[in-house]
Symmetry: C2
Subunit: 187 residues, 2 copies
């Protein structure tokens, strides 16, 4: 997936603004297993996935909790670090070899202050994530584990083939045993 397309998904930019944004981006590659963002760090960069799958997780008392997957085209960033400048609570682990577009947060914020089109692009970036996060929160509150699994099959069937079930279960807010039970029940 190329950067023009990723950028335009959020908000169509005039040519000079787009050029300014792309000028700050550089392409990077990391292998499967690499930890791209680390918790307790203040991140300096955000990424967009050109190729690959990643997961976001936090370390909790009972073990790791996976709360987000990113596939081609997705923005990869610690929202907390990006937005508040505070330490991140999430780790981003590469589940496949990945290629990213890397953007420096400070440069990006400087652009937001200078270029109104980019400020609106940055607004759309946050708004886009907000709608998705809110939908998931509501699903967690009033759907059963089985419904959440069915929803995922409907909306991201490919993800199930690329990510191991333990991570999917955590993402859906259930134990791996529960997910296995649901899968067995559907046969």
């Amino acid at each position: 997936m190329d950067i023009d397309k990723i950028i335009a998904t959020l908000y169509v930019l005039p040519e000079p603004s787009k050029a300014a944004l792309i000028a700050t981006a550089k392409q990077v590659t990391y292998p499967k297993g690499y930890i791209l963002l680390k918790a307790d760090r203040i991140e300096k960069n955000i990424y967009f996935i050109k190729k690959g799958v990643v997961r976001a997780y936090s370390d909790a008392p009972g073990g790791q909790v996976t709360f987000w997957f990113g596939v081609e085209g997705a923005p990869v960033l610690s929202m907390k670090s990006y937005i508040t400048g505070e330490k991140s609570y999430e780790n981003i682990e590469l589940l496949e070899d990945c290629e990213f577009f890397e953007l420096n947060i400070a440069s990006l914020k400087a652009l937001y202050e200078k270029d109104i089109h980019l400020a609106n692009w940055g607004r759309k970036l946050a708004e886009h994530e907000l709608v998705k996060t809110e939908e998931r929160l509501i699903a967690m509150q009033f759907k059963t584990a089985q419904e959440r699994y069915m929803d995922l099959i409907g909306s991201q069937p490919a993800l199930l083939l690329r990510v191991q079930l333990g991570y999917i279960a955590s993402y859906l807010g259930m134990s791996q045993v529960s997910l296995s039970r649901i899968r067995a029940g559907l046969k």
Copy 2:
């Protein structure tokens, strides 16, 4: 709470931008029980709470699900309607007599396109909500019902005195019976 303070909480605006924003706002008052926003409608306005408490809920198969409370200073809007222009899935009910600042979404978006400071203010509005929503999502995924209740006591103790427990229980993703059990257990 006055509108200057509410606006500045998100992003400090230069005087002319602030004046332009305030010029589009009008003050409105509605009684307890009034439904400010309705599901399945495309909303034309967003609000900020000058005084009062509101809740956002959706109608689900098993009954209403309360997924948000707003108190003084909070933005009140259907994120879906505001962001995507699609029909809202939420209702906003006033739990007390309320006063709001009302802003027209179309006017607001026009300002975003013309004024870079307001575009950045709009970005902060979305980013602010995003961080809060993400924190709640993660809590839903890996905290127990009791921990979620304790967190709420810690972060919004006043809310418990203004909102009936059935709504709080729904907001925390548990039945009212569970919430009663937790409260009994803490004594």
